[in-house]
Structures are given as C-alpha cells and as structure tokens.
Amino acid sequence: MGSSPAAEARPGTALEDLPEDALLSIFALLAPADAAAAACASRRLASVASSPVLPVALALRLGLPPPPRPLSPSAPCPAAARRLLRSLHRLCRLLGFWRRLPSSHSAYQSHAPSLAAFEWGPRATLAASFLSPSPHGFAVSKTPFVTLSIAESGDTVAAIGDVPVCVNFVGNNHIVVEAAAAEDEGEEMVSGSPPEEIYAHFANRRSPGAGRRRRGRQGRRWGGMEAEHFVRIADAEPTEARPLQGLWKGICENRTLEFYLVTYGDIGGVTCRRFSDTRGQNSGYSPVFWTTDTTFLEPPFSEQELVNYSSRDHIRDVASSHAGTENRVISRILCMHSSYDVVDPHLSTPFDARNVEGRIWLYEDGTFGFGFVGSNSIIELRNVSSASCILDTLH
C-alpha cells in the first residue's frame, strides 16, 4: 500500500473521496455480491470495482502471488479484471473440507475416500486431495485429486492429472466435479450455475456425466470419469462456544484410524458421524452418537465419574496388541443420552440400540474422548486440522 500525501479526511469527506488504494483495500474485503452492489452505487465506486488492480489487491490479501497479467497490460481490460476477480473468489469459495456423496461409481470401489480438502498450493493454485487414514497412528494420507489454477485469460482451469475437468457450484455448499468437454467455441471450462444447469444436473443424473454433455458430446468420456458430487463441511474446527464441533480423527475399536464429524444442531444437540468407506447402507457417513443436552459437568467431578473414566482402556495405537491406559486431565464431562436408534451398528459392544448412554470427556488441550456405558473403552479424538492446516499428513 503506497502512502498518500493526505493523512486525514477533510470535513465532510465521503467514502468516494478516499484514495484509490484505500478503496481497493475495502473492495478486496467484499464478497462479489457486495462489491457488485457497491459498484452500482456510483461511478467512482464502479471504477474501483472494475479496476485491473483489484484482483492484485485481493490476491495480496489472500497471501497469494500476483495473478497473471491481463492479455494487454498496456490497455487494462475491465472484462479481464472481472474474470480474474471471479476466479479468485471462486477459488476462495472452494477452500476447506468437502464430503463426497456416494455415487454408483464409488459404491463399487472399496475404501473410496469420502473426505476431501481444498487448500492453496504453490503459485496461486488450489489443490484438492482426498484424506485417508494411514496405518501409522494418527497420520493422514493425502491423495491428489483436482488442481485448479487461473489462466492468463483470467478464467479458472481445473484438471485431475492431465484430464481437464469442470468444478461447478450448485448453490454455495455443493459442487460437482466432472470431466470437461472437448473445446467448443466460446465455451468456458468452468462456468457459473445458472438455474437451468442446476436442473439439468439433477434431471440427467442417472446417466454418467450426461448433464453437461447434451450439446453433442455424447459418447465422449474422459478417462471414464463420472460426475462426483461434494457437499461442504462447514465448521471443521471447534470454537470456544462449540468445543466438540469439527472434523476429528480417532482410533476406533477395531484399531483403525477413522474420521469423525461432530456438528451442533440448530435447535441444540450434538451429532457425531463417522466417515466409513462408501459401502453399506449409510454410504460412508454413519452416525455414532447423538445427544440433545450439551450441558457439561464442571469439576470437581464425582467419584463415580472419575472411576468410570479411569477404569476404561484408551484406544490409542493401531500397532498395540492391547490398549494402554492413561488418565488425561479432564476439563469437562458431557453425559450422552442417545435415545434413538442412531448408533453405529459396527461397534462391537452390545447394548440396547435404542437407548444409548455414554460420556464425552473434554480435555484441557481441547481434544476429547468418548465412550459408551457397557463398553470398557474410550475412543480418543484429535483435530484433523488446526487454523485451516491439516495436521499429521504423510507425503
């Protein structure tokens, strides 16, 4: 940001009177719809919104390298700047974790991973990878999936390896990844999702990839790829108000590492689901526990609670033939009452599936463990990510 000769606003200064670089900084903080609304307010603001420097300001704010220059840098093109801005915003919207929805394709693939992460890669690319539990403790394996980048034209390009693909939004929390068409005249590889395309997607979903191939591309398949649908995992990390929320990993009773997603309901209550493989009735996303009352017990804890905790085995290491025991410092305890048959049928402990009780032990370091009445174990969970960085990855 360059310095301006004026360091204070004159009396009666309006927003539009602020220096250009200040307005660019403000616009770089706005979502596309808000920037568009501001652009429609006056000519001055419209000029800032279409400035070729705005994508640079946005990239700077995102910590990215400067985007590629427009094709004719000597004559800055507002349309190119808009394309670039649109691409940057699109990439930002993809950041985070997504859950793959089961499809006829993945149902036949054993252990098809269903958890995907979109992160910034080198040189302003966005790299998506599937996360899988590794056989080594709490480590997580990453398998490359889609890579997105911004072309010189300002458009987004996406590929899986060498295969061009399209990544389209259906609303804000649902994306579709599918093979791109061959080059058609004037067709963008990635487009928005006008209503007719959304309906076409769902109407043609039974035919693999047919939705976008109705314009004469029938019969052409790129690597046999079927459209893959993903839904956004919002709130992947806990907060002070919602300490159980987020994506977690833990070693379950069969000594394998699994991913768990804990969400808070709009009307209260907490639900935990496990990302299993995509076979089976629950299609890769099976409920583990559900409880309506999220009031924690605070210390000092009763003798009964302490004995309940200390008598259990902590399932920790896949390599161990028997679980170790370790008593960690508990900060709070939640009593679970899942009065519903929403329980994991794969858990080995027999109990009344319609009325499950258990405990969640929240530790001082922010992690937690859970266990059920009638079971002698505690499944200890750790964060999958912290400050949006995936932890314990294997390369």
Partner: protein, 181 residues
C-alpha cells in the same frame, strides 16, 4: 539518532525507550518506541536518524494521532504479554492467552466503533503512517458497513449521489451480474 528518552526503569526493572511525536497542531506525544514503531513510516524515520527533537507529522492532527497511538500502545502491550505467556512455564499464563486475545478483539471492536468522519480519518492516518493492523481494521469496518446492502442503501449510508444515467446503471448491473451467480 532518534530522540529517545530513557524513562527510567519499567516495572520489570528493564529500561524503556520513548519517542516524541508531534502532531500538525504542535501537540507532543511521548510513547514507547516499540509502540511508535508499529508505524512503518515512523520506524523508517527513526532508523534514518530523522527524529531528533521529536518526529513531526504535519498531516495528522492531535485528536487522530492520539487515537492511532492508543491503538499502537494497546497492541504492542498485547504482543509483549503474549510472548511472556508463551515463554512462561506457568499453565495459568498459557491458559489465559485466549482470553487476552478476546480482550484485544473487544478493544478493536470498541476502538473502531466511531463516526464515519473519524473512521475515514483513522483510515487515512493508518494508510499514511503504514500501521497495517489499524488500516485493516478500518477497511474491514467500512466493508462491514457495505455488506448485505442494496445500492440504494449503500448510497444512503455513505451519502453518495447516484450519478449514473438509467442506461449506465443498467450496463453496470449487467456487467456485475456474475457476482450474484
């Protein structure tokens, strides 16, 4: 050499260096050098030895300079407290770190809750003085005032005149239609 006043020992027995900064209306402010150095502009002046007898800022009035220095002092103190907690083996200090972050966030929120004129003054002063945190805070405040509003509401909030012809307004809407997809 910078005009550094040795203010004597701080509470921890260490010496502290202060800097005098003079506003456009000739009011002098004595602040810790560390706080003043949150402004890159001031930091460069100190490093270049241009600060004898105080650093004059002909473009910043006393009222705004006081607020900028208040911001810098608060944030420098927070950073210092955070490093102490980090190096402390005291669990209570470590546990108190998130609370102190929350205090700073509350301070920032209350600090930037000002009239529009003052907000623009702070924004321009932060821009001129290159105080990145304050500039980001002020820009975010303005952005938050724009969010969720229609063009008419934005004009009303910021007292902006609609200087588009109907044809121009239509053209601008079409060009920005992509933003609503």
């Amino acid at each position: 050499m910078a005009s550094a006043g040795e203010s004597g020992d701080g509470a921890d027995g260490k010496g502290v260096t202060t800097i005098t900064i003079i506003s456009s209306d000739n009011e002098a402010f004595e602040v810790l050098e560390a706080a003043a150095s949150m402004s890159l502009t001031i930091r460069h002046l100190i490093e270049d030895g241009c600060a004898d007898g105080g650093i004059p800022l002909p473009n910043v009035t006393a009222g705004i300079l006081a607020k900028v220095l208040e911001y810098c002092s608060k944030h420098v103190a927070a950073v210092a407290a955070s490093s102490e907690a980090g190096s402390s083996s005291n669990a209570a200090d470590a546990a108190a770190a998130p609370e102190k972050e929350e205090d700073l966030a509350s301070f920032d929120k209350a600090f930037i809750d000002v009239e529009q004129d003052t907000l623009y003054d702070l924004l321009m002063a932060a821009n001129y003085l290159e105080v990145k945190g304050l500039l980001d805070l002020a820009c975010q405040k303005v952005a938050d005032m724009i969010k969720g509003k229609t063009p008419d509401a934005i004009r009303q909030t910021f007292k902006i005149k609609n200087d588009f012809s109907p044809e121009q307004e239509e053209k601008i809407r079409e060009e920005n239609q992509w933003a609503f997809e």
